[in-house]
Symmetry: C2
Subunit: 253 residues, 2 copies
């Protein structure tokens, strides 16, 4: 039972290393399941259209733009955000290399959120028509594409769980652990990393105000759970962070 819950939360919060083959991107380690043949991989390579570079603050696409392609992130960091007509904005995700962005636009052929580079970044464009065409020929690719979309659904539902039933400390602990896990999956240290986003953006993602994010980080630091300096984070008591996420209202620190 305990285990189920932790699994759920982990899945919930994690951005799975999703993806589609893109050999010109450095995505092989994240994107290619073992069960593609070499011949299939050569076919996959034909669909990776353009490689594009973005500066910090550039928009990969904007809400309302016509949909044509998915994007696989090669390097860098992005955020996606939805805008409410009254000016409110909500960050819906942070994406890192190997992750696929733009899945929301398939439903209406129009992008429903903005994607913004949080640092200088490169992406591979994956024309969606070509992707669909190829996945009709390659069942492995078809299944893979479905898994990517489904994983996004699971991820979003995990964030709903987080937003709907966790307190500020739990949300932030879950967020840090999720980043840690994703960095680890990419060969970086799970214990020390640099945040690419502001407190404001973290808060928007977690349904908190930036002051609450700042206070909670300070509180974690006072209690020797983490070490923060600006945007660099070190997780110094992973077990306690995990406990904080796994258990609901208890966890008195």
């Amino acid at each position: 039972m305990q285990h189920t819950h932790n699994n759920q939360v982990q899945r919930a919060i994690s951005f799975p290393p999703a993806a589609v083959a893109c050999s010109s991107c450095n995505l092989r380690e994240f994107c290619l399941p073992a069960d593609f043949t070499e011949a299939e991989i050569r076919q996959l390579e034909t669909l990776t259209g353009l490689k594009r570079a973005y500066r910090r603050g550039d928009y990969l696409y904007r809400s309302g733009a016509r949909f044509a392609s998915l994007y696989a992130i090669r390097t860098g960091f992005f955020k996606t955000q939805v805008l409410h007509e009254d000016g409110r904005e909500q960050v819906t995700g942070f994406q890192m290399p190997g992750e696929i962005i733009g899945l929301d636009a398939i439903s209406t052929d129009v992008h429903t959120c903005d994607a913004v580079a949080l640092e200088d970044s490169e992406v591979c464009e994956l024309p969606f028509n070509r992707l669909e065409e190829l996945s009709r020929q390659l069942p492995t690719l078809q299944r893979h594409l479905h898994k990517i979309m489904s994983r996004e659904i699971v991820r979003d539902q995990g964030i709903m769980l987080l937003l709907g039933s966790m307190r500020a400390e739990e949300r932030l602990a879950a967020f840090l652990l999720n980043l840690s896990q994703r960095f680890a999956a990419r060969g970086y240290s799970p214990n020390a990393f640099r945040l690419r986003m502001t407190r404001q953006e973290i808060g928007s993602y977690l349904g908190l105000k930036l002051e609450t994010v700042s206070r909670t980080l300070s509180y974690f630091q006072e209690n020797r759970l983490i070490d923060v300096h600006n945007k660099s984070i070190e997780l110094i008591d992973m077990p306690r962070l995990l406990r904080l996420v796994g258990q609901q209202p208890a966890a008195p620190l």
Copy 2:
């Protein structure tokens, strides 16, 4: 709480869902776009395997169960939920006829949530292997499946916005308007309908406690926005409800 759960378990066990052949789930109205040819529709009908009936409280599937099929709801109402280890639940969605359920399980081949009937219901089972196979042959179906999954992603992101940046009144107004819209799309009145879920379940879905849901509904009623009696709801001032959702913290009623 404990007892409710036992009840549901008992009913689930004592009424095994009947399996009947299903020629045309009402897939055509809600699930399928107009642009299928008659020949294609005949092909589609071959994949709708079984029609199953569920009693109120029955589980369509449970978290952890092996994934084999998606389900199209023919009649009735379902909720999907993830369970915390302490017995509390987080509702991730309410589904009504014409909607597809089970998309979360594609990613890992294991269901990540429970689906529970909120009233006596019927579903069509759509074996996912057959669906993939057929969608390799019918590009229209392929695109449609992608759109369904993408729509789920967009829906979830909308809920993230709601949970992350709306106050109780706004959340509840958005919830009622969403139900209204979905009833209208099915030919029912957009102004008067019956809630199939408890205050507790609404609260879980909206990230609120049941008392807050109840209080907010009472407040809406005092201010002549809606008329509530038990589970029957009448929206009597749609414009103001819409304004409540569209605008920031103003909206003084």
